[in-house]
Symmetry: C2
Subunit: 478 residues, 2 copies
């Protein structure tokens, strides 16, 4: 045990959460650092998580009539400068190509930090009539934002994401699109990530540069800080005006389109790590896990052990389960630790003594429950076990959100909560950015969103005591 | 017809092949130009072709034990300079980031033109023992190569591709990998693209910068020019030495790994266009086609026409066929033209007169054959029709290769063929780069590959009359 613990031990999550997070990212082999600061390498296991999210979302996008496209990596500087608010938001963090083919470029090229302007420029060319609407495009790509301090998956100079960009004939249709896509993100949390997201509208201060309204999915991490995990934007006609995206409507009039954009990124991998992980490493929700069952033979040299392990593997694969049989020459204890570090939802221990009774031991990763099973029953029961684990992980995460969501009408109490426990605090707000800024200044908490259910919890803004206009979720955030 | 032809007409393929190609790319809505020279927009229909190729290949890669990863977009200049031959090949066509976050960078960042050095740098960190081998990684991404003259899909400053990078304990295993991947590419041609590829080894002059051996798939376009459509490389230990990629072997010795890399790109879209297309536009092989059947109602206002059209659509979808029912208010003739331009393999015309007899007309895009069918029979027969069309398109393309492959031992005849007919010429070669250069200079033909079947067609090199060493396929190429 000594050597194993030495090699595999990671920082305790409650001792130093930031270090624990980095340890898990590296030791579960999700990523590695590259030689270019802020640019990470997505290793096979980390990329497989992204692929599973991508497959889920891509199917959902297509089912709802979206089409994939690919826009250029670069934006000519003059094009980038067309929409003022947007530029103000993104210009400070751009990377710029100034040299190509050994020559200085006549016009500098911005590496896309997001692709609104590229989509807008294209839409201006291809949209002429109401018959061309709606346009519902999405792209899977990487974007570059020059960041001073970076953390794996959470904030990087380059990250992978999808960005949807749509154009509609009416405001109503565009607003519905922005909300529908938020629903798809929320379903992703519920069905795949086992993460309950809080949803709502961003305050003006926190919204996307160029949006009329930004909707968000927010998740609560183990350290009680919130992580903005995805956003959808109703863009109104601001970009359409800047880029002349017009269409001839049924009534013969020339009108601007109404637009949306929306995206989630590899930041979701960070959310999964920090919502579910524990001191032994990653804990993956079953439908997201690249490997759902690790089969670990004990004393594999004993006759029957490897044969039976292989037989179980094949039986499970026939049920559509993703299985790995660890047939390396490492010790079983080492294999257990690796399986735990990588967060495989179930491990099956196949040993000679159990085999005598036609039994195996099945261990759940998330709560370490051990079950001794007749082999046939184990195999037939595993799809159910996976479903139960998913549901339990979701419920646990939801319980954590509920236990760490507090309501107050007293700003002193708010400050105390942010100092002691953090988590979400629901509080009324006057709508004035001064109060929002004061809260951030004094407590480091920011408004995460104004939930759709605006049932008031008080009448006054606890900061300025003026009339309250909005109910807000506040939290310290990544 | 007047207006329709005016809008949709494209240049004839035998009149001006280059213009025909561009017309098809634009009018079939595969792509559009962006404001950044050489960077194209992959529109939904063009991107869907790439997605279908990607799905096919990704499954084949995974089935053969490859894992997907994602490496950074950028390569620090010092890292890029590590392998000399490789640098020499790629440095002249790089795009370089010199500014980030409003500041000049201390070290310039090269946008990846290919990612050998990134994979090598990572492999040097993660490979220690023979237990860590083989490493078989692949990534889907875009790369940037600064090109002076660009053409959609064929040559661009940015293109989409996959790049596989593997590391092995033995030369034999690495060489097998390079050949196995070539087989997968050849199968892609046979099973999805309906393109027969000529395969073989590149001459030293034509091989990849840094490779020991480059294998290639070559396709013959309608204009009788060859298109290099994908390559796999056996890299030997050159990169491993430059990047110190070592492993402790079973015998305890520290050894360099043997490596491969391999890739195909969106250039394959260009191949499909130029092998199968005709004067009415794109002609898509059925398994690649995003839409396999266009259903076009004639006089859709007549009772029963739309209902029956919808019924046929649903029946075909149940069989797993990708169907589009064109229910727009355009004229049937216009819809036919659009369906032809987009190369949909089959169209079904549903008109009131045929419906009286419970019939529909089915038209094959590739040879325009019209079949009048009983509706039920049409539906049950369409999977077969699609298979037959695929096979026929492959056979036609193969016949075209055979008819345009000539053998000669006489250099004067070679020159005449290249002037008159182009196509492939099989000819012996002494192995001397001077002769290869002379051929290119005098005829514009280059060596496409040395086929695996090296059965000699002569004894002397027809250029210098020295002893022949290799059989070579020559052709003018893109």
């Amino acid at each position: 045990m000594g050597k194993k613990k030495f090699v595999k031990a990671i920082t305790s999550r409650d001792e130093d959460f930031a270090q624990w997070y980095t340890d898990v990212c590296l030791k579960a082999e999700l990523m590695d650092y590259s030689d270019a600061k802020g640019f990470i390498i997505y290793r096979p296991y980390g990329y497989a998580l992204w692929e599973n999210m991508k497959n889920y979302l891509d199917a959902a996008f297509k089912r709802t009539g979206h089409e994939n496209v690919y826009m250029p990596l670069v934006i000519p500087e003059s094009l980038f400068l067309k929409e003022a608010e947007h530029v103000e938001g993104f210009a400070p963090e751009t990377a710029i190509i100034t040299m190509g083919g050994n020559e200085e470029l006549q016009e500098r090229l911005i590496i896309r930090p997001t692709s609104e302007v590229l989509f807008c420029n294209h839409y201006a060319k291809v949209i002429e009539s109401h018959r061309d609407l709606p346009k519902k495009y999405n792209q899977w790509c990487s974007v570059v934002r020059w960041e001073k301090t970076t953390r794996p998956f959470l904030r990087g100079s380059e990250f992978l994401w999808q960005e949807g960009h749509t154009a509609h004939a009416t405001e109503q249709e565009a607003r519905e699109e922005a909300l529908n896509m938020l629903d798809i993100y929320q379903d992703l949390g519920k069905n795949l990530l086992a993460i309950p997201f809080i949803t709502g509208v961003k305050t003006d201060k926190e919204k996307f540069a160029g949006a009329v309204d930004t909707y968000t999915i927010e998740a609560l991490m183990h350290d009680n800080k919130a992580l903005q995990s995805g956003t959808t934007h109703y863009l109104g006609t601001g970009f359409a005006k800047a880029f002349d995206i017009n269409f001839q409507d049924k009534d013969g009039e020339l009108k601007n389109v109404y637009q949306t954009s929306w995206g989630v990124s590899t930041r979701l991998i960070g959310a999964v790590i920090m919502v579910h992980g524990d001191d032994s490493g990653l804990v993956l929700p079953p439908y997201l896990a690249p490997i759902q069952v690790d089969i670990i033979p004990i004393m594999s040299h004993v006759e029957g052990v490897m044969d039976k392990s292989l037989e179980i593997k094949e039986s499970l694969e026939k049920l559509g389960i993703r299985v790995k049989l660890d047939d390396t020459d490492k010790s079983p204890g080492w294999k257990f630790s690796e399986s735990e570090m990588r967060g495989t939802p179930l491990r099956i221990e196949v040993g000679p003594r159990d085999l005598e009774n036609n039994q195996v031991v099945v261990v759940k990763r998330y709560n370490r429950e051990k079950i001794t099973y007749q082999i046939d029953q184990a195999i037939s029961d595993i799809p159910n076990l996976l479903k139960n684990i998913h549901d339990a992980m979701y419920e646990n995460a939801l319980k954590n959100v509920e236990e760490n969501t507090r309501v107050t009408n007293d700003y002193e109490e708010f400050k105390q909560i942010m100092q002691d426990k953090s988590g979400y605090v629901k509080m009324m707000w006057c709508g004035d950015e001064t109060c929002e800024a004061q809260i951030k200044e004094e407590t480091k908490a920011t408004s995460r969103c104004m939930p759709f259910d605006q049932s008031p919890v008080g009448e006054k803004c606890p900061v300025c005591h003026k009339e309250a206009k909005h109910l807000v979720y506040f939290a310290k955030a990544y």
